[in-house]
Amino acid sequence: MTTKLFGEPVQRVEDAKLVTGTAHFLDDLGHDALGVAFVRSPHAHARLLDIDASGALDVEGLVAVYTYEDLLAADEAEGSSVSHALPLLIPHPCLHAPRTGYALARDKVNHVGEPVVMVVARDRYLAEDAAERVVVTYDFLPPVVGVDNARRAERTVHEDVPDNVAAHMLQQVGDVDSAMAAAPHRLRLDLDIERSASMPMEGKGVLARWDAADGSMRVYSSTQTSTSVRAAVAAKLGLPAGKVECIAPMVGGGFGVKIMHPWPEEVLVPWAARRLDREVKWVEDRREHFVSSAHERGQLQEVEVGYDDAGRVLALDVRFWHDNGAYTPYGVIVPIITSTQLLGPYKPGAYRCEWWSLYTNTVIVTPYRGAGRPQGVYAMERTMDAIAAQLGLDRADVRAHNFITPDEMPYDHGLVFQDGRPLIYDSGDFPASLAKLKALAGWEDTLAMAAAARAEGRRVGVGIACYVEGTGVGPYEGAHVVVETSGKVKVATGLTTQGQGHFTSFAQIAADELGVPLEDVEVVTGDTRRFGYAVGTFASRAAVMSGNAIALASRRVREKALRIAGDALEADPGDLEIVDGSVRVKGSPASSIPLATVAVLSNPLRYAFDEASKAATQFATGDTDGPPIADDEEPGLEGTDYYSPTQATFANGMHVAVVETDPETAEIHVLRYCVVHDCGPLINPMIVEGQVHGGVAQGVGGALYERMEYDENGQLLNASFMDFLMPYASEVPHIEIDHLETRSPLNPLGIKGAGEAGVIPSAAVFAAAIEDAEGIVIRRMPISPSDLFELRRQHVAGDVPSLNRTPQGDGGPT
């Protein structure tokens, strides 16, 4: 095959099974497993006084009821640590008061939904019946809800954290105070962005199977990191890692929420399986997902900016307060990302960012697609728009004045990124991205169209937002590639898949590197039995990390194949090529040997086991020089390699949104949505565009429809799809996309990540577009028609400022 697969919109190999309903998600496995339900705290903040499970014992089909006391007793008897606090995954020096929960509440509950009692029964129906009959007595404590209340600290979430502050960090570059004082212009913005959540269509689930004879545990989990779940389960259960396998089956979406681990259920289900010596399965329902998974996005922000007449930022001083929920198991990665990715494609003269991460009596906050970047971009882009409005300049021009230019790459911001490495942009051409976006959106014409519409009394507005995304963070990923004696190629990598098409894009890479047809390559992800060293799928890293590891491992296999084939064909490996699964002499295609045969030859045999393998037996090869396996060699046509980056590689993107609001009903319609993004060369353009589409839809949801509605008692009022409004097709606009491909200099394939791209600038771009449509300054997102109606009234009453529209002749906001 002479056509390269890299860069082709190849149809996905996994689709045949998915569209015929024959692929297996977590709940499609373990039909005979026992079912599990949990008694979860109905209170946001309470002391646990008593648990009376006697009512549950009468339920037909009940198998077991477990509380914290049972975990304690088990640890004592078995040397496990299931009663210990759940791990702090990512410690950081600035996280001075971390707190994690327990698999089952010990003596206190800190959010509605926290698991208190585990019920195991013949099936989920019966488990719910039994759970309903467990009586838990609580002593109600006043809850802390909302960043503002957490900040004021009149009440605390954790008694020993009197100011509710889990972490505090200050990063700065340059002398912000002097630069601010010296700046010709200054502005201050107070911003507010509210919680949403990943909300994959498939919730979490865990299935565990204990083999008592072998002392080994197999765990299936709908997770984004099977290797880390395995490690955590092994640690908690007191098992050697080698005695625990973890497999991620087909996963119905993750978007970040499934990178968090170990969930209490990921500890308890295996533990119960071992204790009961039965297969045990827990599959959460939608309400459970709302109150016992994770949310993200809530921050209050204060920005002070000093700038010159061209809108160049001379000093940027940011403070924000991040709501981390009741515990900090994932550390403070999200606010760290906000503080660093806030800079976007710009180079402020001096930058200071100080933030506090606060406890509230609500669900924990862990990464959701974007993972802190949307909040950072929101702060920066609202600031850019405010500067443009003040100066009466075109908003795209102001941004352009602040761009890091291509000749300044690599650009060192002087800060530390979320991977612990310096924040250095490796590549990117922001002026080119902007030029493409302006062309795609017809920037000047669109602004003019909007202005003309407004002159007629319609409320049409245009918004623009830019971002930079650090992708492909380490520590590493690895891959194993083997050519079997059948000629089929099996590829395994340890990270996981939740719909991103890895089974196809990774196969494209391997097929290209090895010169085999795509259909001969099979990729497995997320299975510790197949590849045991991995980190996980998050931070738009999978293609960069595993893609490169697979390329490197494939190259090892190729090199070995050419060497063995060279011996067989009596040719120099440098004169050989692999085409369509056959190794042949360049220019002399008749002189060839199938890779399948090379695979056979790679393993010198005493005993043939089939027709093909006879070629590798000792009398058939007739090779008597040196040992059959050389000193630095191994049998088999396979290779393992790892890719470990020195730092992240930075993708970028820019979006334009055009909206129209109804002057009477305040309904918000998206007229156009344009995306330009640069993630370097695309392995499969169809898959990348699909990722952008999905991100944009989540962005629309997060800007206009979704928010977590907590009341002052810490009750989540909208814990169902009826009231947490994710967009249907009718709410998502047609999405126009163009690409730029700036290679990354940091990895062999030159690629960057794209998974989160679509959602990152959405709050910013919609705030900008609606502000432009209404002529009212917008500082708080998300925004619903009711919110807009109230904002209009506040504006009329003089409580909210107007957008400054200075007459412009060149298409700037008018």
Partner: protein
């Protein structure tokens, strides 16, 4: 309420699923979605919310798209149910399954079966939909992965494949009908 220590009464249910009659004994409260998935092991139908909003559980009951999480198995007695498995197999796909694959109409695939049954029924009634009609037809199912762009394309492609194979069949050209079902499209939706 049934006393907890009593075993729940079972009810006899006879229904036809994907063309096969099944007899079963189920508790009254067994949801049709759970019956299909766990009693019949037809796990292609997925459960996303159990309150009728997401649509992942949509199956065809007597040809009409229906939320299986909002039906009791006993309520499906004597009815005909078609699930995603009944639309087609990897070897012999329904036009809608083929269209989704060609148009990248799915990513994680969890919501997909609900869309497939809904669209299969829609195209039966609307053989030549406009893009707006296609979008409206799928606006009762949630997808978190695709942003719907390619699902809309998949609806139009389904209609196209169906029309092409029908016109080939009508003209007696079985081969062309077969071919129409196998034509690939590039990612811009152009047939290749």
């Amino acid at each position: 309420m049934t006393a907890p220590e009593e075993i729940e009464q079972l009810h006899a249910v006879r229904l036809r699923v994907n063309g096969v009659w099944h007899d079963a004994q189920v508790p009254a409260r067994r949801l049709l979605s759970d019956f299909l998935r766990h009693d019949l092991r037809l796990t292609g139908t997925h459960v996303g919310c159990e309150h009728g909003v997401c649509g992942a559980c949509t199956v065809l009951v007597d040809g009409k798209p229906t939320r299986s999480c909002l039906m009791l198995a006993v309520g499906a007695r004597d009815h005909e149910v078609i699930t995603v498995e009944g639309l087609g197999t990897p070897e012999a796909m329904h036009p809608v399954q083929q269209a989704f694959r060609e148009c990248h109409g799915l990513q994680c695939g969890f919501c997909t079966p609900g869309f497939l049954t809904t669209i299969a029924a829609f195209v039966e009634e609307n053989p030549d939909p406009t893009e707006d009609e296609a979008r409206e037809a799928i606006s009762g199912n949630l997808c978190r992965c695709t942003g719907y762009q390619n699902i809309v394309k998949s609806v139009l492609r389904t209609a196209e494949i169906t029309r092409d194979s029908r016109s080939s069949e009508t003209s007696g050209d079985q081969e062309a009908a077969e071919e129409a079902r196998n034509v690939s499209v590039d990612h811009d939706g152009r047939a290749t």
